[in-house]
């Protein structure tokens, strides 16, 4: 029995064909993954199922019956719930208020019946092991718990089919584990679950079936047990994807960066405690850890954004402790920040303008009289956009209109173009597609071959494992352990990340 059958769904937005005669069959009581790169049309087709968009052609069948779904309300009435990538929650309100919104139980005099609603939410939460307090304010909940509130919202509306758009993008590794347990429990209670994702390991771990999409078309649908990361990646990208990166043998040279006893307190909370390490030329040093364990502060100290309380930073034998961000950049230390939208570029600036940020004040981009040299700026952008495969390669386009992967490539292009001797790169592949990930990873390895020292901070263990020569694990502002590439063990590092040594 199929919970959902999408037949020949076609949807066109202006000039792009977002969905081109797509068929998807979702079996009842299964977890069905829909994968594809950004822009493959996977979110669009699910938003058609949820009534956000109307298909130009095609049919929707739910539990064997043909249905017209004109708006989200129709979808909800037909037992479909959707958890969006950006949560549709109202932070200053309570869990209960958020869940009942639009479907409020009221007494005959129009008064909200919060107590009854709380009771029902508590029951649902217990039934699926969600552990949500209905009276808590949403803004006080962690992202992982907020996601569960979204799931509860759908369950409260009697959803039988639950669509989750990139559900693990915002979760820590531990939260992902708990989240998968919840999905399994939902499945065992009879719910049908669709997850939209581009993370292959997760597809293989959690799903029963998988549909692969590329450029608006379905390129395959198969039981997960017949799939492998290689098969899926090749289908997604449409060509052979090199999972094993070409990593040359590089003998580390002299010490580039040496930090001693770094300690810092932010808002009365100690964030870094006596952190010391060394990084050599041609070496990639990974910093693993659950986010919020001091990695941000470490990066900010090394890039001049945060002042140290105690400790010393040595760079090529020189004391650069507490130098300004500009002085540090002038020493050819490149920084690719974790949150590219907040710290990497200005979304309303053009690609050419973003391409010179931090170097805008000197030649060749600035003339001695203080005016910008636009011909040079555009020329620079043209070359870099081409070299780093930023699409579309237009210097005058606003950077905010690019996809995440292309935005990241733009930043990588800017930072790499100044020939760094030390690269500090945080979450380099967050939220970007496989093609771009592969490209950026290879760029990092190429720098290593050129004897650049790389400090790689990532919450993705797989990324750290495949790139780093050595890895430090951070936990609560301290170095909780060190492993070399040869002795890297996922299980062991995962334990260190949560404070078990």
């Amino acid at each position: 029995m199929f919970a959902v059958r999408l037949k020949q769904i076609t949807k066109r937005f202006a000039q792009t064909l977002a969905n081109d005669a797509v068929d998807i069959n979702i079996r009842q009581e299964t977890i069905h993954a829909i994968i594809g790169e950004n822009g493959a049309g996977k979110t669009t087709i699910m938003e058609i199922l949820y009534g956000f968009y109307q298909a130009d052609a095609g049919e929707i069948e739910l539990f064997g019956e043909k249905k017209e779904i004109a708006n989200p309300q129709d979808a909800i009435d037909n037992g479909i719930g959707m958890v969006h990538q950006h949560f549709m929650l109202i932070p200053p309100m309570t869990v209960t208020e958020n869940i009942i919104l639009g479907l409020e139980p009221i007494s005959r005099s129009g008064i909200l019946q919060l107590v009854q609603a709380e009771e029902r939410i508590r029951t649902l939460s217990d039934e699926y092991g969600l552990e949500i307090d209905p009276q808590a304010k949403v803004e006080d909940l962690s992202v992982g718990l907020q996601q569960r509130v979204e799931i509860l919202k759908a369950l409260y509306r009697d959803a039988e089919i639950l669509i989750l758009d990139e559900p693990t993008a915002v979760l820590t590794p531990l939260e992902v584990k708990e989240f998968f347990q919840i999905l399994r429990r939902l499945k065992s209670q009879g719910k049908t679950i669709v997850i939209i994702t581009h993370k292959l390991e997760e597809v293989l771990e959690i799903s029963d079936d998988v549909t692969v999409m590329r450029n608006g078309k379905k390129v395959g649908e198969l039981p997960t047990k017949d799939a492998s990361a290689n098969i899926l990646a090749n289908m997604m990208v449409g060509r052979e994807v090199l999972f094993s990166l070409s990593k040359n043998d590089v003998t580390p040279g002299n010490t580039t960066l040496k930090v001693e006893n770094l300690s810092v307190t932010v808002n009365d909370k100690p964030r870094l405690k006596n952190v010391s390490f060394e990084l050599k030329e041609g070496e990639i040093l990974g910093i693993a850890g659950v986010e919020g364990n001091g990695q941000t502060e470490l990066v900010e100290i090394l890039t001049g954004l945060l002042k140290l309380d105690t400790g010393t930073v040595w760079y090529l034998g020189e004391d650069i402790t507490n130098l300004s961000a500009r002085k540090i950049r002038e020493k050819r230390i490149a920084h690719i920040p974790a949150d590219r939208k907040a710290h990497g570029f200005l979304s309303t600036y053009t690609n050419a303008e973003n391409q010179i940020l931090g170097f805008h004040y000197r030649e060749p981009f600035c003339r001695p009289n203080g005016f910008l040299n636009f011909p040079n700026i555009r020329e620079n952008a043209k070359n870099l956009l081409k070299k780093f495969d930023v699409r579309p390669p237009l210097p005058d386009l606003q950077t905010g209109t690019l996809s995440g992967g292309n935005q990241q490539k733009l930043i990588v292009a800017r930072e790499f173009s100044r020939h760094p001797r030390l690269l500090i790169i945080a979450q380099p592949t967050r939220g970007i597609d496989i093609g771009a990930i592969e490209f950026i990873h290879q760029q990092i390895l190429d720098l290593r071959t050129e004897k650049v020292a790389v400090l790689l901070i990532s919450a993705e263990l797989e990324e750290i494992r495949s790139l780093s020569d050595r890895t430090l694990v951070m936990f609560e502002g301290e170095i909780a352990g060190e492993v070399s590439a040869a002795t890297f063990d996922m299980e062991k590092v995962g334990m260190m990340m949560t404070g078990h040594r």
Binding site: M88, M93, L101
Partner: protein, 308 residues
Amino acid sequence: MWEILDLELIASGLRLSTPLILAALGGMFSERAGVVNIALDGIMIFGAFTGAVVAYETANPWYGLLAAMALGGLVAHIHGIASIRYQADQVVSGTAINLLAIGVPAVLSNALYNSTTVTPNIQLMLPIIHIPIISSIPILGTLLGKYSILVFFAFAMVPLSWFVIQKTSFGLRLRAVGENPEAAETAGINVYLMRYYAVWISGLLAGLGGAFLSIAHGSSYVNNISAGRGFIALAALIFGRYTPKLTLVGCMIFGIADAFQIRVQGVIPIPVQFIQMFPYVLTMIVLAGLMGRAHVPAADGIPYAQAK
């Protein structure tokens, strides 16, 4: 000079708080739903003018009251069309209404009564309520004894507004569209309609606040009758962190300050212009001390593009 600090000062302060309370509560509905309403002052002026004219022409203050509310609602609706449907900048739209309120009543008043500054005195003012037993008790009598019916109404609106906003589904939806309209829309709520409701309520209440000035506190419309009270009401609302109870406190502080400056005129040897500045300076000090601490509704002032 200390003899002016008596119970009569408090009583007079409560009276002067009344238009502020009505306008501020109106503003609260609007802003909690995400529409900045700096047109409150202009709406009050329109309300005061309409109230005075209709009360005079019909010789019935109640008709004046209803007309003031109706026109307040209508002017607010214009603000609503501009800022909700056409997603205009809400501050610009509100400013336009405030500017209109400077000119339109003067022109109409000139056409009707040959005077750009005042309308004729109304024959009957709104009734004063004497609470029978309390008005004969010495202290309470002075404090609570006799007020216009609108004063009681305004104070009663405070808990009522709280109840509507916190305890009804209407209030929950109103808050939702002011915090995260996208989430509200996903939950099946008509964001535009909710915002129109909120703006209408703000117009009704601000119009009523204006009518208080011309047919309850005074007995005719005079030029610039609001004297910036709509803006003081907004200040009280921000001081009150967009909650009814604290907003009431803010309105009362300003109302009593206003009563104080009126009574102190001529009593202490300071030029009257400086004394008149007192409530306004107080507003600035209070706001400077509070700015940035209140939780402003997250979508306040941000136009929303609804799907349909």
